[in-house]
Amino acid sequence: MGQIIMHIDVNSAFLSWTAAYEKQMGIERDIRTVPAVIGGNEQSRHGIVLAKSTPAKKFKIQTGMSLMEARQMCPDLLVIPPDYNIYVRASKALREYLKKYTPDVEVFSIDECFLRFTDINRDQAVKLAYKIKDGVRDKFGYTVNIGISENKLLAKQAGDLEKPDKCHTMFIEEIKEKLWPLPVEELFMVGRRTRPKLNRWGIYTIGELANADYKLIAAMLKSHGRLIYNYAWGRDISIFKEKDPIKSVGNSSTLKFDITDRETAHVVLLSLTEMTAWRLREAGMYCRVVSISIKDKDFGFKIKQRKIMYFTDCTRDIYLNACSLFDELWDNKPVRALGVHVSDLEFSRFKQINFFQDELSLKNEILDKTVDEVRAKYGDNSIIRGVFANTDLKPVLGGYPDDEYPGMTSIL
């Protein structure tokens, strides 16, 4: 008897959560039964589809598409703004609920979890999965898909088979009938970049990938090729991570307008740094690597990082590094989105004294703590930096902690 891994995936998460919440608030409509999407604010240029209802799917509306395109496909589309407070609370409540069944819960993203069970056979696992699925529906008012297998990859693939409100198994001996007939882009880690390459070599299904020449795949796609080849055979050596310590903290934001000058970019970097550094201090950690990301108006994306000489949690130190990184990286193209991230974190109550840090930075550390206390007591905007006065830029930018849930991770 080995281990059983289950993959829990909330069916169109943001939309289901909004629908269940609206029901609790007594709003008499069910956005799950009409063509509806959760979409960002178009005025501030966050106008993409974040989640869609099943009727909206029939219009071939896809997650990530712009709201304008979606409206062209379905003129009566209902667009609902997202509310991350609901989602974070729903996600936490789901995790707490799942912990009743097993202590081994790995959070994969805001709406996906892996559960590990040992000492359980397959029939019991299937029964249990149905119990969990129905339990979530009755308790929280939304549906989930559960995939059951022996490793994380196959559990995830099983969960994607047929939606919504279903349980599926995909054990290693079932891959020939359940996994192989699927189109190759359904395989985890095969995306819009890899699919055309595979198609060019005549590989259209996962089965064709599994039976392709391993040497060819490995030679053409290097380590990524070896990985997806093994995935096609259901081989996955990833380990179950129970608790993931924070590895990085960061915030990014798409801006209301394209930035064309250096000064404004620095100001936006400051507002992002305010948030990032505050969260870093909140976690009681120090960082040694600062990185920034720039997305230009043509969606070109660049990142650059730098290691600094000492561990710090000071807003000013992070900001100055972010600015100089920006100056090195920026190619004068209008900027659409900016991000500041810090990593190489150290958790410590004591701090090594060092002579690379100047006196102003030491003073600023004390100032930061005071500012944090003022903000905790009187609100985020109770004390702001002078540059933000009389501008419509937000003094503290990036609310949703986008790395608390490793949303776009490629590592199982």
Partner: protein, 79 residues
């Protein structure tokens, strides 16, 4: 029965065993006294916990009150 879902002022007894009993509440400048609590249960939709009280008034009117734990607010949900 109509869904209202509006915050209201409530007078309630908080018992030593943790049980909550609403006594009366105010709506449209009228005080409604609760005669009997017919049913209480907890709902936890998308993680938002509310305690639901189905109450009887004058032997025939049914009110549904909800106490939201996160915001510590009472709602008249249905009347």
């Amino acid at each position: 029965m109509k869904i209202i879902n509006e915050p209201i002022k409530v007078m309630a007894v908080f018992n030593t065993d943790g049980k909550i009993e609403p006594v009366k509440f105010r709506i449209d400048d009228k005080v409604v006294r609760i005669e009997k609590i017919m049913k209480t249960y907890e709902e936890n939709i998308v993680g938002n916990t509310r305690i639901v009280f189905v109450c009887l008034h004058k032997g025939k009117d049914i009110f549904e009150l909800k106490y939201e734990l996160d915001t510590k607010t009472w709602y008249l949900f249905k009347k």
